[in-house]
């Protein structure tokens, strides 16, 4: 198994998830989905942290990934609260609708 090298694959996977998440932010209009795409990006980062931590023999990667999850949760809470408030005021759930100030 010496010949196999999973690291480039893991990094590639992370890069792919990250970019696909970013792409999602660009093309999706529902703020909830946009949020999910951001979560996707954060998850991609976690792969990087963990796999680096694995071969670097360092726990910092895992701790960092843990922090990322916590932050993601906090952001989601605030974000969803905001989204419900926006919705409650009778607006569409569409990020393209939020362009009042640049009109």
């Amino acid at each position: 198994m010496n010949a196999t090298n999973d690291f480039p694959f893991l990094l590639g996977l992370a890069a792919f998830l990250f970019s696909i998440g970013a792409l999602g932010v660009l093309i999706r209009r529902n703020p909830i989905v946009v949020f999910m795409c951001i979560e996707l990006m954060l998850n991609a980062v976690n792969i990087v942290f963990v796999s680096y931590g694995r071969y670097l023999n360092s726990e910092e990667g895992q701790v960092f990934a843990f922090m990322v999850i916590v932050v993601a949760a906090a952001e989601v809470v605030v974000g969803l609260a905001l989204i419900t408030q926006v919705f409650r005021l009778g607006r569409e759930l569409d990020v393209d609708d939020l362009d009042e100030m640049s009109k």
Binding site: F9, F35, I47, N57
Partner: protein
């Protein structure tokens, strides 16, 4: 092990595409749960048991449930089909570019710069990571042994004490914010009501304003 990584990795990638491209928000959410699950398996394979659990409990269990709950609450409709506009092109090109660049850079053998020695190797952290990195190598330290939850936990309260404390503050702020933002307007708060009236109709004429007050 490699096989697991490849399979779950592919699964994660596929479901990520599902997140981005499914028109129904609920499908997106479910795809995301799938991705998170797949990733948790990879974490486990990478000897990150603690994260594996956190990923499942916090992410899949709490966060995603919240998402699904909100989707259910707001019941948004399906989006239009994704249009190939400039944003899509930019995003796709950059996504492709970043992915390719990362893979190419990570596969040191074919990176742009062969003469460079890997940094982690230089500073004595790993012997030959790109070429020796596989799971049959078991000369790893405490961190990567099974049951490293204790190690991580211990570090969390010693070396990473300050970040850990900051997260507490962070969560508190988020909680306060969520409460504030979703709190219903207290009755008998006249300016608030007036604000809302103004908010709905940015430029009320005098008469409209009066009608609004009477109705309210």
């Amino acid at each position: 092990m490699t096989v697991i990584i490849w399979v779950t990795g592919a699964l994660a990638a596929l479901s990520a595409l599902g997140v981005v491209f499914s028109r129904q928000p609920l499908y997106s959410a479910l795809s995301l749960v799938m991705t998170i699950g797949a990733l948790s398996v990879i974490f486990l394979v990478l000897n990150a048991q603690f994260l594996f659990v956190v990923q499942l409990i916090v992410y899949a269990g709490a966060v995603m449930v919240l998402f699904v709950f909100i989707i259910a609450l707001l019941s948004p409709g399906a989006e239009d089909r994704v249009r190939v506009d400039s944003r899509f092109v930019i995003g796709a090109v950059v996504a492709l570019g970043i992915t390719v660049a990362m893979v190419v850079a990570a596969r040191n053998g074919i990176t742009f710069n062969n003469s460079n020695v890997f940094r982690a190797q230089q500073i004595g952290q790993a012997s030959d990571p790109y070429h020796a990195f596989s799971f049959d190598q078991s000369d790893l330290g405490l961190v990567n042994t099974a049951g490293n939850v204790q190690t991580v936990g211990g570090q969390l309260f010693t070396t990473f004490l300050l970040p850990f404390e900051i997260t507490s503050l962070l969560l508190l702020v988020a909680a306060v914010g969520a409460v504030y933002l979703t709190r219903r307007t207290r009755s008998g708060d006249p300016p608030e009501r007036r604000e809302r009236a103004l908010g709905r109709k940015p430029e009320p004429t005098l008469e409209e304003d009066r009608i609004e007050v009477e109705v309210g």
